[in-house]
């Protein structure tokens, strides 16, 4: 396979794994190959005990231009439906991940590329990068979970503007409205994302797994969340990581968590 074929590359660095969307001819657009490669990696990572956090980025200084328009030309309605269903598998593999995800965005995160970034827990964006829910420009609506993820991060008013007007959102604007969490210098998004992913990898994995799962159930009512925290905390109190956390607290040293 030549390196111009659409795929997702995986590279591990200690407890962090980096997934790089690579589709050089189409600015890392989501072809069916990219989608299935991403789901395959997420399946492997789920059972790989060495890996504690995930970074998602794009090759060649851009995140992703979104869906692959060249494959949408002569699509029937049911082919389109299959395509969205395949997209859903990708969304679920990321959203249901028990390991935290950091997105490193350079260049463009447009259309489904924006949707992909928003599935991350933490988004680092290069100062000159931009976002756009560009679906409307080709007569489509937002997909890959955008109707659910976007209003969780920004206000409903902002979400309407982004989705209905396909406004291009600059990195600074994105930080201001809470669409992303961090800005990096141009070319440094991945470096900053690795630092954040390392912090997440060193954090106690069991509570973060439960936290991520609880927040993944949103929107949820007060009593659902109070029940969740009582059940979860009851289990965590007896974990060896909590013993280690308490010992390190009283001994005034950094804890070493094992995820047990």
């Amino acid at each position: 396979m030549s390196n111009t074929e659409p795929t997702v590359l995986r590279q591990d660095e200690g407890a962090v794994t980096v997934l790089t969307v690579s589709n050089p001819k189409r600015r890392n657009a989501f072809s069916p190959e990219v989608r299935s490669a991403l789901v395959g990696h997420m399946d492997d990572i789920a059972t790989d005990a060495r890996i504690r956090s995930i970074v998602i980025t794009g090759a060649n200084n851009t995140f992703s231009a979104g869906g692959d328009l060249s494959t949408m030309q002569d699509m029937t309605a049911f082919e389109g439906r299959e395509r969205i269903r395949a997209g859903r598998a990708m969304v679920e593999s990321l959203w249901r991940s028990e390991k935290p995800i950091v997105a490193a965005v350079e260049g463009f995160a447009f259309g489904a590329g924006l949707s992909l970034a928003l599935l991350a827990d933490w988004i680092v964006v290069a100062e000159d990068a931009s976002f756009c829910a560009s679906f409307g420009k080709v007569g489509l609506m937002g997909d890959m979970g955008l109707f659910w993820t976007l209003p969780q991060r920004v206000s409903v008013g902002k979400a309407r503007r982004i989705l209905m007007l396909a406004e291009i959102v600059s990195a600074n604007e994105a930080l201001k409205i809470g669409l992303v969490e961090e800005i990096a210098q141009k070319g440094k998004a991945l470096e900053r994302a690795m630092l954040k992913a390392k912090t997440m990898a060193e954090a106690a994995p069991l509570p973060n797994r439960l936290t991520r799962e609880a927040l993944g159930q949103f929107p949820a009512g007060l009593d659902d969340m109070l029940a969740y925290e009582a059940h979860g905390q009851g289990l965590l109190f007896t974990s060896s990581d909590t013993k280690e956390g308490l010992a390190s607290f009283f001994e005034k040293r950094p804890p070493v968590f094992k995820g047990a």
Binding site: T149, Q152, P207, G221, L226, E229, F237, T238, L246
Partner: protein
């Protein structure tokens, strides 16, 4: 004599001030403190002369969180019960009728952060520090933070605070939406008392209805319509609504009675 460990209650006009006083443990929410907090909240809540509750901490700090000394010897059932019982004060705060202001100096960590986020309004000293410190000892957030924090600051930043135990100072807290008002160091309670007078002068039944609606979050559009359709006609016929109409036309300040 044993160290003092209680919640001090004082009244200033329509405002009830609850001060967590367990200075030796930086106002940790021990079982004793929680058992004092529940009746203090309930009495303030049931007293219709109290129009606003201010929660603060003694000795220049809000609360360092849970009682770490309890966590060493735990079973799942015991741990679950301790966390489950926190709903006694969380329900009183989140489902009560009386607006609650947290006045935060020093640390609001762990369950102390949860306590602050369960308030309707948060006044923070510029140099106060907020942290969901739970996962530093291998625990998940409790004190209602899974529900309260994303509502205040959005999912991305909530995940950062909950999953990375990121420490936020008062100034950052204000820009994120964790705090609603900033105060100079040591002045959080003063500013909170000023803010409390504003909340205390609002029409109490309307305030109670608003609190009750928000306690039912998330609301879909139909549920929100149902609440306003049911509650607004009742409010329209209160003495307070009549008083407000009279005061409006007389160009006076209304005097609400909660009736």
């Amino acid at each position: 004599m044993a160290e003092k460990m209680t919640v001090n209650v004082t009244r200033e006009g329509p405002i009830s001030v609850l001060e967590i006083d367990n200075v030796k443990q930086r106002n940790a929410l021990t079982m004793v403190v929680k058992e004092a907090l529940v009746p203090a909240l309930r009495e303030a809540e049931e007293n219709t002369d109290v129009r606003c509750i201010v929660i603060t901490g003694a000795g220049g700090t809000f609360s360092a969180g849970g009682d770490v000394s309890l966590f060493g010897d735990m079973t799942p059932a015991k741990g679950r019960q301790i966390v489950f019982d926190q709903r006694k004060f969380l329900h009183l705060m989140l489902r009560g009728d009386t607006p609650i202001i947290a006045a935060v100096e020093g640390f609001a960590y762990g369950a102390g952060f949860g306590l602050a986020m369960a308030a309707d309004h948060v006044v923070s000293a510029e140099n106060a520090k907020f942290c969901a410190a739970f996962n530093k000892i291998g625990l998940m957030p409790d004190g209602g933070l899974l529900w309260t924090l994303p509502q205040r600051i959005g999912m991305g930043r909530a995940k950062d605070m909950l999953m990375c135990a990121t420490v936020i100072d008062g100034i950052q807290a204000k820009s994120l939406g964790i705090a609603d008002r900033l105060a100079k160091p040591t002045k959080a309670l003063d500013v909170a008392m000023e803010r409390a007078m504003h909340f205390a002068s609002a029409a109490p039944l309307a305030v109670a209805t608003i609190k009750s609606a928000f306690a039912r979050y998330p609301l879909d559009l139909e549920a929100a319509f149902a609440i306003e359709t049911d509650a607004q006609p009742a409010l329209m016929n209160t003495q307070d609504a009549k008083e407000a109409r009279r005061a409006f036309f007389a160009k006076e300040k209304p005097n609400f009675k909660g009736a």
